[in-house]
Symmetry: C2
Subunit: 120 residues, 2 copies
DNA sequence: CAGAATCCGAAGCGATACTG
DNA sequence: CAGTATCGCTTCGGATTCTG
């Protein structure tokens, strides 16, 4: 990241152009909630995952939360739902390009947090 | 950011080392909630801010939420509280180095979100 | 001025039973 | 198999009043 870009970011905050701040909040919402990060993590691990396999691996999650979280992640286009009309029904979830593209940003968050917990 | 670092991040996710994922969640919590980003933004704008000035500028915030958010931000060491024992009481809030250091990460979040809302 | 205390409604989340 | 529907609990946030 360039230094000037950060300065522009800070300047856009200073000059009350809160669009920058809003986009941050939107981005936070996308991966917010109790289970979304776990779901994304699981899909990264397995590449494509079925509903019940998620339910088994995400220990403690309920049908409701898994369904809702998947719907929101799909609505935000981080994951892709593929339904195969076999018998029994088979549905697979995988990351979209957008979903993959947020991983580096999550890495930055992780690095930031680790830096200030090991240093102190 | 280096490509190898991202690959290591993904690999650490794949290999079930969820410490990476947890640190992401902790980082998200630090700036989560309804008002914390607004508070940080305001402090960036004004450098040092007093309690009631925040309350005036953060339109709609209540005493409770402002107090709680400030306490949490201070506990997470993103902001610093300085009390001057004058009459009447004066308290000023400002960013710590840790608080400043998260701004580039928030910029990345902002850039990520903007990329995928203008492109589509 | 800078909060603390209390009460209340809304939202998030969980448990269970049921369905195409 | 992959969900939906319903219900209840718990947490979050808002409104108001009070205090050092």
């Amino acid at each position: 990241m360039e230094q000037t870009e950060l300065e522009e970011f800070i300047e856009s905050i200073r000059s009350s152009d809160i669009s920058g701040e809003c986009s941050v909040k939107r981005a936070l919402d996308v991966v917010g909630g109790k289970w979304k990060l776990n779901i994304l993590t699981l899909i990264v691990q397995l590449d494509t995952v079925r509903f019940n396999e998620m339910k088994r691996r995400l220990y403690g999650i309920t049908n409701t939360m898994l369904t809702n979280s998947l719907k929101e992640l799909e609505a935000d286009k981080l994951i892709k739902r593929t339904q195969y009309n076999e018998m029994p029904l088979r549905v697979e979830y995988s990351l979209t390009e957008k979903g993959k593209s947020i991983l580096p940003v999550l890495l930055e968050l992780s690095k930031w947090w680790k830096q200030y917990t090991t240093d102190i």
